[in-house]
């Protein structure tokens, strides 16, 4: 895994000290809130409903065990004993005190972490496939490129005051687990005709109040040219992106208003000027970064492990967990173990200090000290020997982390909503809890199969409702919480934006409405169809009818 060099270390330490001084000056009245606000936001400090919120970056969702352990320690020392993993693969603390945040940032810096690129109109923390370097279906580990993007984009002087925030996601696998088509830039690794690997460049995707699936501006960019090409896109956006209206300032609006051909023309024109400059990254340098993410020292194992098979046959609970939460690894004898942060009736994405420390310990013992955060708000132990899975599961189960529901109807994405967020118009978490309880029976979840429910507590769509197979958007209707349902969204390589099914539902009605939709799907599905497949085959009408009848 990537380790800081002297440059990174100095940069993060200087930033931490600068922020300490800024906080001191704010508290003593030397600078006003108006002056301080942009400074705190550039350090991941928001003011939310009940208190400050500190958002800590987890670059490309990869953590070392010592880092996750420190995240648990920070939850205990500076917060109320828990943290919330987000759809940007980051972690948020909900109760830090402003005068203690500089100390928390120092503790983070000591384990090579920070809160840079988690707020403000800059290039945000790059996200990627949580199974990077482990997935059997991967072309190449995307993280060396993510790290190069991090280095290029961190404090990039030209792109610190963009029209609006800017999010880049990368997938190294044809099966997109990073939702790259709904990011400002999505990079999809693939082969060109010469058999070289490079990236399809997708621009202008996004969620929020105006959702779009991104459009391809270039089918293939070679790795050496990737960074100059990204720079060209950002320059075009920085120059032409709208600054007159916050709600029209993302690059998706520029792509929509100018058309992808015109954006492409502008980008290519800009790129022609800079492509042979300092951002052309040579093979030797790329190789250095690939080396940083070299596979751990896997043992040569048979893919079949007798003990693993025996445990599965002896324990139904373990076998159920393997069925949903364990994914095929590229290395024989190893597996990817998903740690669900969606206990039935629990708060999606929340983990306590001791749970974080336990997962850190398990990763140290069983997964080469490697942990991942997923954009679906779960954790991953990416490299576990099949022979160790039972021990891992037993430990997880003992800490309330063994829920066997990955990808099922109870594996819900939910933003913090009105329970925490100053922007929210309705609560998300209690609704996710009630849906989780309604569908908590595991046999029923197996019967329903893959079903992605995503809930946002306002139109900003942090809960990705637009790309939920069933999406739920919480609104405020004359002072009452009110929920709008969308169907047919998809964040994968087959990305699509869900469509509103009809009039919204009250808080009391919405769980029944979801159940009616699921029951209808079970009635009309063809063998093997997932909810999204059935929806695509039959369209909206049968689902509309079950919710509204003749209305």
């Amino acid at each position: 895994m990537y380790r800081y060099d002297d440059f990174d270390r100095q940069l993060v330490q200087e930033r931490t000290e600068q922020f300490r001084e800024q906080v001191k000056r704010r508290l003593s009245g030397d600078i006003t809130e108006e002056q301080f606000r942009p400074l705190r936001l550039m350090n991941g400090v928001y003011l939310q409903l009940h208190a400050y919120m500190l958002r800590v970056a987890v670059p490309y969702g990869t953590l070392r065990c010592d880092q996750l352990r420190e995240l648990g320690g920070i939850a205990r020392k500076y917060d109320k004993g828990y943290g919330h993993f987000t759809t940007r693969q980051n972690i948020q603390y909900n109760w830090p005190k402003l005068d203690e945040i500089p100390d928390a940032l120092l503790d983070l810096a000591n384990v090579e972490m920070h809160a840079i690129q988690t707020s403000g109109n800059c290039i945000r923390n790059t996200t990627t496939d949580q199974y990077a370097g482990a997935a059997a279906d991967e072309i190449e580990d995307p993280r060396p490129y993510c790290e190069l993007i991090r280095q290029w984009s961190t404090f990039h002087p030209e792109f610190t005051y963009l029209p609006r925030k800017f999010k880049i996601a990368v997938t190294g696998s044809p099966n997109d687990r990073a939702a790259v088509k709904v990011h400002d830039i999505g990079l999809r690794m693939h082969y060109n005709d010469a058999g070289e690997t490079g990236f399809e460049v997708i621009v202008g995707g996004g969620l929020g109040r105006t959702p779009f699936v991104g459009k391809t501006v270039r089918d293939f960019i070679g790795k050496n040219d990737l960074f100059s090409y990204l720079e060209a896109i950002l320059r075009v956006y920085n120059r032409f992106g709208r600054r007159d209206n916050k709600y029209k300032a993302r690059i998706k609006i520029l792509v929509h208003e100018l058309g992808v051909e015109e954006v492409q023309r502008l980008v290519e024109e800009e790129w022609a000027q800079i492509k042979d400059g300092s951002l052309k990254v040579g093979d030797a340098e790329i190789a250095r970064y690939i080396e940083q993410f070299a596979p751990p020292a896997f043992e040569a194992l048979s893919d079949d492990d007798a003990d693993f098979e025996r445990h599965k046959s002896e324990s139904r609970a373990f076998s159920n967990w393997v069925r949903s939460n364990v994914i095929e690894h590229k290395q024989p004898g190893y597996a990817i173990a998903n740690v669900s942060l969606k206990p039935i009736g629990g708060i999606p994405g929340d983990a306590t200090d001791t749970q974080m420390e336990l997962v850190a310990d398990l990763s140290e013992k069983y997964s080469f000290g490697d942990v991942r955060v997923t954009h679906e708000q779960n954790l991953v132990l990416p490299h576990v020997k099949k022979a160790d899975l039972f021990a891992v599961w037993t430990a997880l189960e003992g800490a309330g982390l063994g829920t066997a529901n990955l990808g099922y109807v109870t594996d819900i994405i939910a933003c913090p909503g009105l329970d925490y967020c100053a922007l929210a118009t309705a609560r998300s978490i209690p609704l996710s809890q009630r849906i989780s309880e309604r569908f908590g029976d595991l046999d029923r979840q197996h019967d329903i199969g893959e079903l992605k429910i995503k809930i946002s507590g306002c139109i900003n769509a942090c809960g990705h409702h637009h790309v939920g197979h069933i999406g739920i958007l919480g609104l405020d209707k004359r002072g009452k919480e009110f929920y709008q349902i969308t169907l047919g969204g998809d964040a994968s390589q087959d990305a699509s934006i869900g469509k509103i099914v009809g009039a919204g539902f009250s808080e009391a009605e919405v769980v029944d409405a979801i159940e009616s939709l699921v029951t209808k799907y079970i009635d009309i599905r063809d063998g093997g169809e997932r909810f999204i497949d059935t929806y695509r085959r039959v369209g909206m009408d049968p689902f509309k009818e079950v919710l509204y009848g003749d209305r």
Partner: protein
């Protein structure tokens, strides 16, 4: 006329506070000074927005409240949550005390 009080977040710890009768800030909405009518509300907000308070609180604003048997209760659910804490964590926020 509707009753209003001024709320804000305290600068150092970020917690929710309300402007009190003596010009201080309390974590308990029942300590808040109420304003009845637009003029009184504007005067209350002007007091809370004094530059010298910038080192005490952040982002003061008016909220509608009702006088109920239990005390002052905000009319908007968002503000009710601010007086209590997250509805999903009864162990956190002012409701836990």
């Amino acid at each position: 006329m509707s009753l209003q009080v001024v709320t804000a977040n305290r600068l150092d710890d970020g917690l929710v506070v309300f402007l009190t009768a003596d010009g201080g800030w309390s974590e308990n909405i029942n300590d808040a000074r109420t304003a009845d009518g637009k003029e009184a509300a504007n005067a209350l907000l002007a007091e809370a927005s004094a530059p010298e308070l910038d080192v005490v609180i952040v982002g003061p604003y008016l909220i509608d409240v009702e006088q109920q048997d239990s005390g002052l209760v905000p009319t908007k659910y968002r503000e009710v949550l601010r007086t209590k804490g997250p509805s999903v964590r009864a162990d956190l926020g002012y409701q836990a005390v």
